[in-house]
C-alpha cells in the first residue's frame, strides 16, 4: 500500500485543479441547508428560555394551537425521556440524554436560549405569533456563569444527579464539576525542586463561537408509515440519522439523512439542534417542516467552545532542558458535562519531551449553552498557556525561542505524558522550516515609531481516522463517479476525485465526486477530527484499487490471457510483457463499453476503520504593532508552518492553515461571549461578537512541510485543526515582545491591552 515509495511520480496528487463543486459555489447554485424547499412545506420555530436557570413549572400550548395556521406545537413531553447513555457518533463523546435535553428542555431551562417548545405554522409570521402565545411558567433559579464560581461549594447546582467522577473519596453531594482528569509521568514535584529556573502563570480564555457563516437549517418530511427524510447541513449525515433516531425512538432504517452543502462547521455541526424538533413537528402536522436558526439563536443556543482558567508551571535547567511541567485546567462545559478538557490536558505538553509532567483537568457545567467541538477541541487554550510560559522561559534563559523548542521538542520515540509514543512525526522539521522562513530571517522593523514585536508559538493535534466508506463506479463511457460519506466542508470532493484519478490513471475531470446520503453509501463518521482526507481518502483509494483489479480482469477476459498478465498504467491495460501476448492497450472507455459482456458493471465500495492518522504539528510566527494609546493590536505579518504529511491539493491545505490561523487570531484579539448579571448573552450578533474581517488581517503565509504519514496511501495527515492551536500564543508572545507585558487574559482586546499598559506605567511610576 506504500504509494509514497512505489509511486514517486504522482500525476494528480499534489496539483491544484479547480474543485469539482466550484462552479456551483461561485454562481449561487449550490444548495445549502436553508435553500431547500419541499412542496406543502410549513415553517418551524423554537421558543427559548429568557432565563439562565429556571424550573419549568408548566407550559400551556392551548392558545398557540388555536391560532389559525398553526399545525403543531411540541414540548419535551413529545419526546421519549431517555436514559443516560454515552454515544460516539459525533466528535467526542456525547450523552444521548443530555443531547435530548439540550435540543428541548425537560424540567429545567439551563441557559438563556435553551429551547422549551417548538411550533410549525403555515408562515414564519404565524409561527412567530404562535411562539408568543405559548405560556411558560418558570420558577427562576440562581444561576452561575463563570467556571471558578461554578466550582465553589456554595454554587447553584445545575444537575442534582451529577457527582464528580474520578475523585476519592466518592462524593456524596452533587457538584458542577462533572469529572477530574489526571495525567502524570515521572515525579514533577521532585523535579521542580531541582530546576534552576521556574516560570509560572495563570491564564484565562473567553468562550468563543465557531461562527460558521451558515446558521443551522433543515427541511424534513415524515410519511404516515414512519419513513422520514432529513435534508440538512451538518458535518455528518450518519450523525444526524443516529441522533434523530435515538432522540425520537425511531428505527434508524426509517430515517434517510441527505447532506446538503454545509456553510462552515469547524466542529459546531457535529451534533443536532433542529432536526429532531423538525421531525416531531412534521410527524404531528403531516407536512414537511423547514427550520432555520437566526444568527442570534446560533450564538445563544449552539456551540461555542469552553472558556477556561489554566495554571501552568515549567521548570528547566540553565542549559534549557525542561525537567518538570505542571498544568491545571478548568474548562466550562456549558449546561451539560463534556468540555474538551481531556484533549486540553493532553495537547499542551504533547510537543515536548519532558521527563516529569503532571496535568490535572476539571470539566465544569454552568448556565451557558452546551459547548460543541471547535477545531482541535481543547488544545488552543492549553497551548496558549504553555506557549506563553515557554516564551517567558526562553527570555529568562536568554535562549532563542525556536532553539528552546527544538532542544525539548518531541521526536521519534518520545513518550507522551498521556501514554502513547510518537512515531513518524514532523515537529523538528516544522521548527527547522520556521527557522529557515523569510519571515524569521527578516529583522523586525519599527513602523512609524510604534511598538512592534515578534512572537512564535507551536501547536499539536492528534488527528483521527475511524469509520469511512467510499465507492467508485466506472460509467458506461469510461467516466468515473466517486461517492463518499463525508460532507465536503472545504474541498474534500476535490481531494477524493484526485486520489481516485491518481490510482485509475485518468485526468481528474473524468472523475466526478458526490457526497452520498445515508441510504446510498456505507456508514461514515463525521467530517471532523481532520479525518476525511485520511480515512475517507483511504476508502476511496482502496475502492479505486478494487476497480483497477476489475479492469485488469476484464482486459484479461477480452484478450483471453490470465489477469496477472495484465498491467494497468496511465489509465490503460497493457499486456504485462512479451510473453503475455501482443495486444493494443485498452483504455477505461473501451473496457467500460464491453463491461456487460465481461461480467457486468465495474464498481467497488470500501468501508473501513482507518487507523494511524498521524499527528500534526504547527509553528506560527507573528509580528504585531501595539498602539499604547488605544490598546489596538495590528497583525503586521503572519507565517504558519505545518507538517501536512502530503498535500493532496496544496491550495486547499494552505487554505486550512490560513483559515485556522485567522480564527485563532480572532480568538486571541477580539472574540468573546459577554454576559449580563442575569446570565444573558449581551453580544449575540456579528457587530458585537467581533470575528476578523478582511481589513484586520495581512496575507498569511502558509509553509507546508511534508513528512509523510506511512499509514496513508499518499502520506496525508489531517491538516484542518492544527492551525488554530498556535495563534493565541504567537500573538501573545508578539505583544509581550512589543510592549514588555505578558497578557494573560483572552481576548487581548483594546480595553484590556490599554489597561495593562496603564497598570504597567503606574507600576513604573511608583
Amino acid at each position: 500500500m506504500n504509494y509514497i515509495v512505489s509511486k514517486p511520480e504522482l500525476k494528480v496528487v499534489g496539483t491544484r485543479p479547480v474543485r469539482p463543486d466550484g462552479v456551483d459555489k461561485v454562481t449561487g447554485r449550490a444548495t445549502f441547508g436553508a435553500d431547500m424547499v419541499l412542496p406543502g412545506m410549513v415553517w418551524g420555530k423554537v421558543k427559548r428560555s429568557p432565563h439562565a436557570h429556571a424550573r419549568i413549572v408548566s407550559i400551556d400550548t392551548s392558545k398557540a394551537l388555536k391560532l389559525p395556521g398553526v399545525k403543531a406545537v411540541i414540548t419535551a413531553e413529545d419526546f421519549p425521556n431517555i436514559a443516560s447513555e454515552e454515544a460516539f457518533v459525533g466528535e467526542g463523546p456525547m450523552n444521548f440524554r443530555d443531547l435530548s435535553r439540550n435540543c428541548i428542555a425537560r424540567d429545567k431551562a439551563l441557559y438563556e436560549g435553551h429551547a422549551v417548545a417548538a411550533v410549525a405554522a403555515i408562515s414564519q409570521a404565524v409561527a412567530d405569533q404562535a411562539l408568543d402565545l405559548i405560556d411558560v411558567t418558570y420558577e427562576v433559579l440562581p444561576h452561575v456563569i463563570d467556571v471558578e464560581d461554578a466550582m465553589r461549594p456554595d454554587a447553584p447546582i445545575l444537575h442534582d444527579d451529577l457527582f464528580t467522577a474520578n475523585v476519592e473519596p466518592k462524593p456524596t453531594k452533587p457538584s458542577n464539576v462533572s469529572k477530574r482528569v489526571y495525567f502524570a509521568k515521572g515525579d514533577a514535584a521532585r523535579a521542580f525542586a531541582s530546576a534552576d529556573v521556574v516560570v509560572e502563570g495563570r491564564y484565562t480564555t473567553a468562550p468563543v463561537h465557531q461562527a460558521y457563516l451558515e446558521p443551522h437549517a433543515c427541511v424534513v418530511q415524515v410519511a404516515s408509515d414512519g419513513q422520514a427524510i432529513v435534508y440538512s447541513s451538518s458535518q455528518g449525515q450518519f450523525m444526524v440519522r443516529a441522533y434523530c433516531a435515538k432522540l425520537l425512538g425511531w428505527d434508524i432504517a426509517n430515517i434517510r439523512a441527505v447532506p446538503l452543502e454545509i456553510g462552515g462547521g469547524f466542529g459546531g455541526k457535529t451534533l443536532v439542534y433542529l432536526e429532531p424538533l423538525a421531525l416531531a413537528l412534521a410527524q404531528r402536522s403531516g407536512r414537511p417542516v423547514k427550520m432555520q436558526m437566526t444568527r442570534e439563536e446560533v450564538f445563544r443556543a449552539s456551540g461555542p467552545t469552553s472558556g477556561t482558567v489554566i495554571e501552568v508551571k515549567i521548570g528547566a535547567r540553565r542549559d534549557g532542558t525542561i525537567v518538570a511541567a505542571r498544568e491545571v485546567l478548568k474548562y466550562q462545559a456549558g449546561a451539560f458535562p463534556g468540555s474538551p478538557v481531556q484533549p486540553g490536558c493532553m495537547c499542551g505538553f504533547a510537543m515536548y519531551d519532558i521527563a516529569n509532567v503532571e496535568v490535572i483537568g476539571y470539566d465544569v457545567v454552568s448556565n451557558r449553552p452546551k459547548v460543541a467541538a471547535y477545531r482541535a477541541p481543547g488544545a488552543p487554550m492549553s497551548s496558549y498557556a504553555v506557549e506563553s510560559a515557554l516564551d517567558d522561559l526562553a527570555r529568562k534563559l536568554r535562549i532563542d525561542p525556536i532553539v528552546l523548542r527544538e532542544q525539548n521538542g518531541a521526536r521519534e520515540g518520545t513518550k507522551t505524558h498521556y501514554g502513547p509514543t510518537h512515531h513518524n512525526i514532523g515537529f523538528l522539521q516544522t521548527l527547522e522550516a520556521a527557522k529557515q522562513s523569510e519571515h524569521w530571517k527578516t529583522p523586525l522593523k519599527a513602523r512609524n515609531g510604534g511598538a512592534v514585536g515578534r512572537g512564535i508559538a507551536c501547536g499539536f493535534w492528534f488527528n483521527i481516522g475511524g469509520e469511512s466508506s467510499g465507492a467508485v463506479h466506472v460509467n458506461e463511457d469510461g467516466s468515473v463517479s466517486v461517492v463518499s460519506g463525508s460532507p465536503d466542508i472545504g474541498g474534500s470532493r476535490a481531494s477524493m476525485a484526485m486520489m481516485a484519478a491518481e490510482v485509475l490513471g485518468v485526468p481528474v475531470d473524468k472523475v466526478r465526486p458526490i457526497v452520498g446520503d445515508t441510504s446510498s453509501i456505507g456508514f461514515t463518521h463525521v467530517t471532523g477530527g481532520s479525518r476525511v482526507t485520511f480515512a475517507t481518502g483511504m476508502a476511496v483509494t482502496q475502492a479505486s484499487e478494487g476497480v483497477v483489479e476489475q479492469l485488469k480482469n476484464r482486459a484479461a477476459q477480452i484478450w483471453e490471457i490470465p489477469p496477472e498478465a495484465v498491467d494497468w498504467r496511465d489509465g490503460k491495460a497493457y499486456p504485462a510483457g512479451s510473453n503475455a501476448g501482443a495486444f493494443e492497450p485498452l483504455d477505461l472507455a473501451e473496457i467500460a463499453l464491453r463491461a456487460g459482456k465481461t461480467g457486468g458493471p465495474i464498481s467497488s465500495e470500501v468501508s473501513l476503520n482507518a487507523q494511524g492518522a498521524g499527528p500534526g504539528f504547527g509553528a506560527h510566527i507573528c509580528d504585531v504593532e501595539v498602539d499604547r494609546e488605544t490598546g489596538q493590536v495590528t497583525i503586521l505579518r503572519y507565517t504558519a508552518v505545518q507538517d501536512v504529511g502530503k498535500a493532496i491539493h496544496p491550495s486547499y491545505v494552505e487554505g486550512q492553515i490560513q483559515g485556522g490561523a485567522a480564527q485563532g487570531i480572532g480568538w486571541a484579539l477580539n472574540e468573546e461571549y459577554i454576559y449580563n448579571a442575569k446570565g444573558q448573552m449581551e453580544n449575540p450578533g456579528f457587530l458585537d461578537y467581533r470575528c476578523p474581517v478582511a481589513s484586520d488581517l495581512p496575507l498569511i503565509e502558509a509553509i507546508m512541510v511534508e513528512v509523510p504519514n506511512p499509514r496513508h496511501p499518499f502520506g496525508a495527515r489531517g491538516v484542518g485543526e492544527v492551525p488554530i492551536v498556535p495563534p493565541m500564543g504567537a500573538v501573545g508572545n508578539a505583544i509581550r515582545d512589543a510592549i514588555g507585558i505578558r497578557m494573560t487574559d483572552l481576548p487581548m482586546s483594546p480595553p484590556k491591552v490599554r489597561a495593562a499598559v496603564d497598570a504597567d506605567n503606574g507600576q513604573k511610576a511608583a
Partner: protein, 161 residues
C-alpha cells in the same frame, strides 16, 4: 395587511412580485423569487452574505425592503456570470481556491464585482477595506484578496486571460 405589487429589474430581466411591507429584499429574493444564491448569515447587515448591487451600489439585501426594489436595477449572484461565461472574479476565485465552504462566496463575489466596477485598480488595502463588510470564516481572506487582485489585473488587461 395587503401585499404590495412591485415591478423591478433583476439581472437584466423584468420581474414582478407581491410582498408584505415589512419583508426584506433578501426574503423576497430567496422565498418568493427562488433566487437562493444570496444567503442569510445574520439578517442584520453585518456579514455581507446577502450582498446585491442596486443601481450600481453594493447593498446588503437584508437591510433593504422588498417594496424599495420598485423601479431599480438589481444584480444578484445569479446575474454576475454572462450566461455560461464566468465573470473574471468568479474564475479567479476558483483558480485561487478562494472558497472553502462556499457560503460567503456569493456575497464576496458580488462585493468584489462592485469594487472592480467602481475602482478597476484597487490597492490590497483598498480591497481589504471594501470587503471588510463580508465575513468569511474559512479562508482567512488570503486567497480571496489574491483572487480579487488577480481578477482586477486581468480585467485591466495586464495579464493574459
Amino acid at each position: 395587511m395587503s401585499k404590495h405589487h412591485i415591478t423591478t429589474t433583476i439581472n437584466g430581466e423584468p420581474v414582478e412580485f407581491l410582498c408584505e411591507p415589512q419583508e426584506t429584499m433578501l426574503d423576497v429574493l430567496r422565498n418568493t423569487l427562488n433566487l437562493t444564491g444570496s444567503k442569510e448569515g445574520c439578517a442584520s447587515g453585518d456579514c455581507g452574505a446577502c450582498s446585491i448591487i442596486c443601481d450600481g451600489k453594493l447593498m446588503c439585501s437584508c437591510l433593504m425592503l422588498g417594496v424599495e426594489a420598485g423601479g431599480h436595477e438589481i444584480i444578484t449572484i445569479e446575474g454576475v456570470a454572462n450566461g455560461d461565461e464566468l465573470h473574471p472574479v468568479q474564475r479567479k476565485f476558483l483558480e485561487h481556491a478562494a472558497l472553502q465552504c462556499g457560503f460567503c462566496t456569493p456575497g464576496l463575489i458580488v462585493a468584489s464585482k462592485a469594487l472592480l466596477d467602481e475602482n478597476p485598480n484597487p490597492t490590497e488595502e483598498e480591497a481589504r477595506y471594501w470587503l471588510a463588510g463580508n465575513l468569511c470564516r474559512c479562508t482567512g481572506y488570503d486567497k480571496v484578496i489574491r483572487a480579487v487582485m488577480d481578477a482586477a489585473a486581468e480585467m485591466r488587461g495586464e495579464v493574459a486571460a
